[in-house]
Assembly symmetry: C2
Homo-oligomer: 228 residues x 2
């Protein structure tokens, strides 16, 4: 992996939500970098225990954890079911618009804040679990956005940040495989929170995030069993 061999100081900052994807990325970073830090965000999300879960995963992984309060995001988000509990969540992406689980600018803010924080720690490498493969209609999970933002961040601060996206082209089955190869399949399966209804581990089983996660899990387990 040419990308990784360029790391200058062996330190990385992981944007950690405590879900399947970012947790897998945290353990990926632990393997790739010597010193790993995690950052999570309180942005008025419905499931406030999300950040407590992120923190306990960071502790288990033995990495330093920073929680940032950025409530302005929920002031800004209009008609969003993830930050406004009076709105019923879309089960599917509506034709011609975003699902109402879209928090406008979320990854823009997460990664921008992560970059300023990384800079203060002398960290250049930043890891995020976004994936274009399963991007569910969120434009800020796409590869072109991440690459554009990488340039913007470097120009904003005259730095040489590298945004790492180990899951960008993986589907959920491949992400499960990655967690298994990293030796953290059980942690990811039992301790992470992906479910839109706030249920840890295998989740509520019927929200869009659970359906996607379970389908990937079943595909991966099937593939694994065929091998043995």
């Amino acid at each position: 992996m040419a990308e990784i061999s360029t790391k200058p100081n062996n330190k990385a900052l992981v944007v950690l939500s405590g879900g399947q994807d970012s947790t897998t990325c945290l353990f990926w970073a632990k393997k790739e970098f010597k010193e790993v830090y995690a950052i999570s965000f309180n942005y008025g999300q419905k499931h406030q225990h999300e950040t407590a879960i992120a923190q306990s995963i960071a502790e288990r992984a033995g990495v330093s954890f920073k929680l940032m309060d950025i409530y302005f995001i929920s002031q800004l988000a209009t008609n969003c079911s993830l930050t406004d509990s009076s709105i019923k969540m879309d089960k599917e992406k509506p034709e011609g618009s975003f699902p109402n689980t879209f928090v406008p600018g979320r990854n823009l803010f997460f990664l921008s804040i992560a970059a300023v924080y990384a800079r203060s720690l002398g960290i250049r490498d930043i890891v995020t679990g976004v994936s274009q493969t399963d991007f569910s209609g969120y434009p800020d999970c796409r590869d072109s956005f991440i690459k554009s933002l990488n340039v913007s961040l470097n120009l904003a601060m005259d730095e040489q940040f590298v945004l790492h996206t180990p899951l960008m082209w993986k589907d959920k089955a491949e992400t499960w495989e990655m967690a298994d190869n990293l030796g953290v399949f059980d942690i990811v399966r039992n301790e992470t929170l992906t479910c839109y209804n706030g249920v840890v581990g295998d989740g509520c089983g019927h929200c869009p995030a659970c359906l996607l996660r379970r389908k990937g899990l079943e595909m991966y387990l099937e593939k694994k069993n065929l091998k043995h």
Copy 2:
């Protein structure tokens, strides 16, 4: 101005700090667009009355005003004299580094938040007073950063924002001339706050911002007197 002729809905949002530059931009926007909105930020800056000044300028201009609290910026800024009153301000840009008046990522956050807010109002055109000519060593005032961020914002939200920078290539004398041509020379001279020491109008007279502002004013007045 080809750029302006493309405006689809005649609405614009101005990032307003209440200083000379953004106030001039506010009146520029009033001339160019039918409906103008202003947004200001509380980010823990030393001179808290800055936002009150911005608000009174917006009221005088008859535009709707939004104030956003984004204190996380001062949590992030390390060794910055504008947000930490225990630090003495650099008078000049230190060799090989930024002046300690640099708040890392400030324009990145201001413009990103402005974009999400603009989107919620159905506004596409966003105006900022940044200038590369007098950029004082701040990388996030440069044209390349603004253009890169414009692309990042559009990709983040699948929108067609246009970031307008009417002062990008103007020096302070030309900015005074612009205010005069817009008929707001006295408002800009007497009611704006540019001074790092928080003194309205002509300011304390000795901080870097006052020196720059006064030099431009003197140059412009000299040029104007020569004409008459």
